[in-house]
Subunit: 323 residues, 2 copies
Amino acid sequence: MEFLDRYQEIVSQAIKKYTFKGKPVELYEPMNYIISHGGKRLRPIMLLMANELFGGDIKKAIKPSLAIEYFHNFTLIHDDIMDEAPIRRGVPTLHILHGVNTAILSGDGMLLKAYTFFEGLEPDLFKACLRIFTHMGLLLCEGQQYDILFETQEEVTYDEYMRMITYKTGVLSACSFEIGALIARADFQDAKSIFNFGKHIGIAFQIMDDYLDVFGNQESVGKKHAGDIFENKKTILYLLAKQHATQQELEELKYWYSKKTDNIDKIYGVEKIFRRTNVQERALRLVQKHNELGQAYLGKIQVSEEKKKPFMELANYLLKRES
Amino acid sequence: MEFLDRYQEIVSQAIKKYTFKGKPVELYEPMNYIISHGGKRLRPIMLLMANELFGGDIKKAIKPSLAIEYFHNFTLIHDDIMDEAPIRRGVPTLHILHGVNTAILSGDGMLLKAYTFFEGLEPDLFKACLRIFTHMGLLLCEGQQYDILFETQEEVTYDEYMRMITYKTGVLSACSFEIGALIARADFQDAKSIFNFGKHIGIAFQIMDDYLDVFGNQESVGKKHAGDIFENKKTILYLLAKQHATQQELEELKYWYSKKTDNIDKIYGVEKIFRRTNVQERALRLVQKHNELGQAYLGKIQVSEEKKKPFMELANYLLKRES
């Protein structure tokens, strides 16, 4: 999409411009490393899009958009330590390259640096944005802690799952849009609407992520097929299957989810239950539901339909993907 | 000291009042645990003292003073992971009790929570305080990274050491005082003076800490005698000794600081060089020097001498200690 490319270029240029030049380089170089290895820059783009939607000046929004990207990368650094992930975006993770200590510290520094990127805003906007930003951070920590707990928690309810993905994924896109709206001085109601649009798009995105693990095109997903089943992750597919399983299937699921193995019998057995309980269609229906909820919030915003088009395109792009 | 007790009580009450009640408890309980196991609450007290010095309303300063205490505890949680420290303030550290992952996450949450404690301030003050707070955080990260680097860096200069302790210790007391002054709406020059008072007191405190490792009363220090020598730490004693050592002593120091051992010959050999080069007196002279620099800044502040007395008492308390 043309508008995405345009925004991506703006964000990339800004990241280059604000490359950290501080000392010691051993602290700042790892931050530059992770931020330069990209990703799609979706969250800063969301901030810029919302700012433009409400007639804001892009110059004022660029540094806050970087704050969102740095914040996101702070969470990636610390999450990768927790997950013992060796690779991110095709390159070694920070704790692999520099050790856990420097990775913890560079993550902390990244979060603090993110805060500095709001300093160009007038005091009232600065305060409004930082409140949202800090509380977003706390919700993400809560979501991450729930995710850790789910690993050892025998029963995870649908509501618990929804809360976890809302905190871990929905809130970040919601707040990216909301902060962009505030910087453009959108009215309170419109800012809340774009927040809720972002929340539901984020939730739909995460459900799609769970879906693609099993039903995605393996080549374009670029991850191991059914990695979540192997890891015993309580994804939406697992939760939906449990809701619709027979007693015997429940016992079978319990059996397989008590052992960490990539035994082909496990993957085959679990997928058979997933198919029988029709979780593929159920999950896609949920994606559709949250997409529609998001669109409804978008509909409430008092700007021309023409201006809303890029938001629909973004949602389609995120949800129609095969990877 | 009476005024310290009074402030300590105020801070303790406030910490109790604002006990984190959020969920999941697995995230917030570790934060409550570390904050409830005390310490002397010196940094929030510094903020409250400066606020009172400039005629501020204590009610307005209490929550920001907690921000400083939470920030300090955030650094302790992450530093303890990095140092693999099993004990803090006589109780097990968080990563020992809950694992490294929860400790990283609770540390992150603690830093974010700290930010929320400024939200009661008017936008202009909120912005002024948060700028100081965030940049203080970055300097602490830089200081911590320098400290990590010193472990493997063969030569550490006196200037490098001073920068490291200024960032790791001086800046936190400096900013605690400065934020307190700002909340009382002290004038810019006075705020800078109390900042510099805090900086030099912090530096003197850290030099005293190095000194007590070898020359302190072991019982009141409550730590292993000469632990820094055992750990090959490049303390001020080591740096001063190197400045005044003979060629033969330099080689001896190099030999001992290349092995991690609590061999009594090492401790004995190094302490002999410390005594011969008279580092005991030299270190105390440095403490005195920074104390005087601090006092000079205190002298510049335009309030009555009577009001400055608690600051002198605090400095004496910190620097005359035997532990």
